[in-house]
Amino acid sequence: MIELKNIKKSFNGRPILDDINLTINDGEILAIVGPSGAGKTTLLRALAGLGDIDSGEILLDGKPFDPRSSDLKNNVIGVVFQDYNLFPNLTVWENVTLAPKMVLKMTKTALENEIKPILTHLKLAGKEGLYPFELSGGMKQRVAIARALAMKPSVLAYDEPTSALDPSMRTEVSNLLLDLKKDGVTQIVVTHDIELADKIADKIFRVNAIS
């Protein structure tokens, strides 16, 4: 369970996040919706340790944690970026296994045993040797998901998962997220796509543009 308490953040004196309180239970999908500029991405970046907050607290299972600390026990949030940010110089397999190998120090056997099933599950079996430029948008997204899952995060967070894809892919994305939910993955979806949020989310959190 992740709790956000009284999260505040402003840019140049203009409040972006104004006292956000939010709970995400294990296995849930939480959608964060709102117009552009309302701070959805800012909130996600704060959770991922890519941006800081002015005040407030983030708790994991009741204990405070700092997403910005490089301490491995804070390896809580996996992020699927809007344009995936795959590493173009690495193959699918290398993209997904680089961090487990270098950070989690997983052995070759452990990688085979633990990462292969993730790839198979995400319909990426047989694509291990391809480079990102050889993949379709949907495949890139699944590699990004596999790469995040390989680090065994408590929560998987998506920034606008449908915006870089063809509209016809929307159903595929929602099925994928619901599938992962069945596996018990806790997910946060930042999106302006209300329809997607309605379809998949257990909880919808609205951030409003503060004027």
Partner: protein
């Protein structure tokens, strides 16, 4: 033809010296250039300021002057180098400055998203550089670095002024002794061969890095 055979050994000895200056300069200047390139976008103002000064100095004055300064100037304040060391010192510092600017541009061209993706995967800055950023930078900078490398082959002839027996000097001695144009033409042909081989090598390298886009 017989004349060519008689002067070829001295020219080839000169080629070896030219190649020595060339190879050792590349070996010294490339790593230094990468480091300085990283330093040029350092968050510490003083480092940026110093490195910008260095690049300005090296690119803003003639390499010939730098060479003369190191070999003939520095001994006046009791810093002496032997000829080859003086040449390498000047060439490495000069070329590292050009490489630094090229690499700075190369690093800047990498999208911030690459760093962020690495960060959320908990990779350390060093791991991020080594596995993700540098390989992409190297691919991007091969054409401009290649330009400088070709320039260096020809610039290496400047060591002539501090009395190093490179290819040009060897040819010049032969031409003066035998009062003929032939050595100069041969020297030109050898430079052309050297740049041709280097160009082909650079093309291959570019091609090799085309395995991804």
């Amino acid at each position: 033809m017989q004349y060519i055979e008689t002067i070829l050994p001295s020219l080839l000895a000169g080629v070896l010296v030219t190649l020595k200056v060339f190879v050792l300069t590349i070996i010294g200047a490339l790593p230094l250039g990468i480091l300085a390139g990283l330093g040029l976008k350092s968050e510490f103002k003083i480092i940026r300021w110093l490195l910008n000064g260095y690049v300005w100095l090296m690119r803003g004055t003639p390499l010939l002057l730098q060479l003369i300064f190191v070999f003939y100037g520095l001994p006046l304040i009791n810093i002496t180098f032997d000829r080859l060391d003086a040449a390498l010192f000047a060439f490495i510092l000069n070329y590292a400055a050009y490489f630094a600017e090229i690499f700075r541009g190369g690093f800047q061209a990498i999208p911030i998203g690459q760093y962020e993706a690495a960060k959320v995967l908990r990779l350390t800055p060093w791991q991020t550089q080594r596995k993700i950023i540098l390989p992409q930078v190297i691919k991007n900078v091969i054409p401009p670095v290649g330009n400088e490398v070709i320039n260096l082959i020809k610039d290496s002839s400047l060591v002539y002024v501090i009395g190093i027996g490179d290819l040009l000097r060897a040819g010049n001695i032969d031409a003066a002794r035998d009062v003929t144009l032939v050595p100069y033409i041969l020297v030109g042909v050898i430079y052309l061969l050297l740049t041709a081989v280097t160009t082909i090598g650079l093309r291959r390298l570019e091609k090799y890095y085309n395995y991804y886009r």
